[in-house]
């Protein structure tokens, strides 16, 4: 056997291995398409794409964080905070509405990053604390949640969330662009390589002279900025800075990332997998809606069951791939 064929087979195997979630998604879509006539309607597909866009942006940042072996629980709160800040900033025009959330959320990410990288505290607990911090900030600037900032009709900022191309909302294209950029950053740059190295073997990365601390700080900043941006897009879409969104969103993002084949212990993962994971989550939710007659309490039972089936399926696919 020559090296070339060996190489080709190995990469084919690893592609299959990584795409356990893709297979699950494909299956899910086919079944949904056949069982529910409205699943395939353009409106429905557009809605799935749009809903996925917000989560995808957050999960993109989360992917980087998780590959470094960390976790970011603050994304849900930061997302909500970003939305409120965008709505608040929109009174001074487009740029303020965009920059205010990005800067503030980036700073929260920076705080996460510095605490994780410089003090050696567990990311789980650091970001749990900033989850509270961001919620607290949000409540503080909305006078305990009683003020809601609305984006004035006709504000240019609204377009960010509500404009469409071919019926697909701008957020879909923005999310897609960010994910492509994120994929390139992860796979094709030195920074991406050090992200993998830090997560795979931090001590080794340090001994190899990689900028471990800087890498960690950067991924948390990225996660903060991206969550803030998702919040800003959401605010533009909802036309106001809603205070009650984003609760528990971190778990959705983490689930999407992990289902996409990223290892929670770090060192392995792909952006494509995450996108697929996000798609899966929203398709599942959509299918549950399509079933329609389900009692609301059964709905969560069914989504739990779906989640289980998907992980088990993905896991057993990647196991068989491993065996080759």
């Amino acid at each position: 056997m020559t090296v070339d064929t060996r190489v080709r087979r190995a990469s084919w195997v690893s592609v299959l291995q990584r795409q356990g979630a893709a297979v699950a998604l494909a299956l899910m879509v086919v079944v949904a398409w056949i069982s529910f006539p409205r699943f395939g309607s353009p409106d429905n597909l557009r809605d799935i794409a749009l809903q996925s866009a917000f989560l995808a942006v957050i999960a993109l940042g989360m992917t980087f964080v998780i590959i470094t072996g960390g976790i970011d629980l603050s994304v849900g709160s930061v997302y909500a905070l970003g939305g409120v800040l965008a709505a608040y900033g929109s009174q001074w025009g487009f740029l303020a509405a965009l920059l205010l959330p990005l800067v503030v959320c980036g700073l929260i990410g920076l705080l996460n990053g510095l605490l994780v990288a410089k003090t050696g505290m567990a990311p789980f607990i650091v970001t749990l604390a900033t989850l509270l911090l961001a919620r607290g900030l949000l409540l503080a600037i909305t006078s305990e949640g009683s003020t809601t900032y609305r984006i004035a009709d006709g504000s240019a900022f609204l377009e960010l969330g509500r404009g469409t191309i071919l019926g697909f909302g701008y957020p879909v294209f923005l999310a897609a662009a960010l994910c492509v950029a994120g994929g390139i950053l992860l796979r094709r740059t030195a920074f991406g390589q050090s992200v993998f190295a830090v997560g795979g073997a931090e001590q080794s990365a340090l001994l190899m002279g990689l900028p471990v601390a800087r890498t960690k700080v950067l991924v948390y900043v990225m996660s903060g900025v991206l969550s803030g941006f998702a919040g800003a897009m959401t605010a533009a879409y909802l036309q106001s800075g809603v205070t009650v969104i984003g609760v528990g969103l971190e778990l959705d993002a983490i689930a999407a990332v992990v289902i996409g084949g990223t290892l929670l212990t770090g060192g392995m993962g792909t952006v494509l997998g995450t996108v697929i994971g996000v798609g899966l989550r929203n398709v599942i939710q959509n299918v549950i809606n399509q079933i329609g007659t389900l009692d609301s309490n059964y709905q969560s039972v069914v989504s739990g069951a779906f989640l289980l089936v998907v992980v088990v399926l993905q896991r057993s696919l990647s196991r068989t791939a491993d065996r080759r």
Partner: protein, 539 residues
Amino acid sequence: MVLEVVDVTKEFVGVRALDRVSFKLEPGEVHALVGENGAGKSTLIKVLTGVHRPTSGTLLHRGEPVVFTRPVDAQRAGISTIYQEVNLVPLMSVAGNLFLGREPRRRGLVDWKRMNADAAGVLAGYGIHSDVRRPLGTLGVGAQQMVALARAVATEADVVIMDEPTSSLEPREVETLFSVVERLHERGIAIVYVSHRMDELYRICDRVTVLRDGKHVHTGPLADLSRLELVSMMLGRSVGDIREHGATAFGVDHHAGREPVLEAKGLTSGTRLSDVSVSIRPGEVVGLAGLLGSGRSETARAIVGALPLDSGTVLVGGAALGPGVPNAMRAGVNMLAEDRKAEGIIPNLSVRENIVLAALPQLSRFGVVSRDRQDRIVDTFVKRLRIKVSSPEQKVSELSGGNQQKVLLARWLCTQPKVLLLDEPTRGIDVGAKAEVQALIDELAQEGLAVLLISSELEELLDGADRLVVLKDGAVVGELVGDQLTQDNVLAAIASGDAAAGESRAGESRAGESRAGESTAAESTAAESKAGRSGEGES
């Protein structure tokens, strides 16, 4: 002086690992650093490379005082290091590891195609012919060590430090390593070389520094010292006290029983093992010989149930073993794994707990462990294997490499097994303790234990084993008994049927060369040309 430390002391909580040690490295020399396990060699190296900050003392680089706060600082100053435990990223591809931090780029983006080609080319020069895209962790320790070597040498450096680089290498790879050392030497690069293998030291080193218990004992030309003198300096005993024996402490043949206690038949697992059969009789030491990646570790893992099998059975005392390690252990079959960092020690547990780990069920009643019996066992083995610990409650991760290895040996010996599979048991162990371990293996065999011995040191295999099974590419290619046990016979067995493989390997390295050539032509950024040069240099 390229690098110098003056009066360096390094204290860990409760341990003074270095005590006012001074060390000078001249440009272009190959400087041996020797000492018993736990003498402080690795610690000195870590002080030199900014991993540890000394408690007191100064560090001079080209005569200038420097403070390395992080490993990067040392690397920027031109010090490149291969640490004792492989420090690479197991989940990342081989090529990714090799080029981590200096990836070849095209239009600002990492050029994977070229990186893989370059990596394959570079590694072929080190005798590693595996797919560079597979995760590094799937390679054996020996192969990983070669990758670490290739990586360390590829960076522009004027000092290269190697901490026990040959501890899991085969004679053939050791030769490769020596030729690398030779080349570095010619380029005027200074080398610090740590090893417990005396032959190697005498072959390549100019000068030697001896450490004992964290203190500096001697520095001088190696040629001025006889082996015996060197060993006595390391151990701190007079020359007369040291028994003179051969290369190893193994005695003569054992009296093996008639019926094999363990029979492995037709072990086959993916592409790694094909139809390997081994049997061991009580009281017999069977050696497994073969080159790096020949499947010796895999054979041991398959026997103990740690490698899923496609086909094949393992019989112990005539009864087939169920799958999984616990079954094997219940039948009295134990394996000492080769990779002590990944598969051996439990880093955050104490030495005591690491030793008794496998024997816990035997040491407890109704699931409640008896502290007394633990302490007795631990005490016995710490003394017998001369494990250097401040207390049995010390974290095992704080021990020196050799002492960790001894802890693992103790773990398996205290379970009182019937069959012991030893994968590189003396890896990283100092001369004194090595003889001790070898004598112990002899003694255990004499008492009726069946031993499977895997070692990268051929002498150890030839002297220690009663019978030798030679593996190649995951298949048995020969079996040697009694008088047949000679180096030449082993090499001949390995060489037989080598033709096909040789051809394809030659093809690969040519491909590697031409790609590296291309890249030099296509210079566009400094980083690129640097990567290109390094690729060229090694292939």
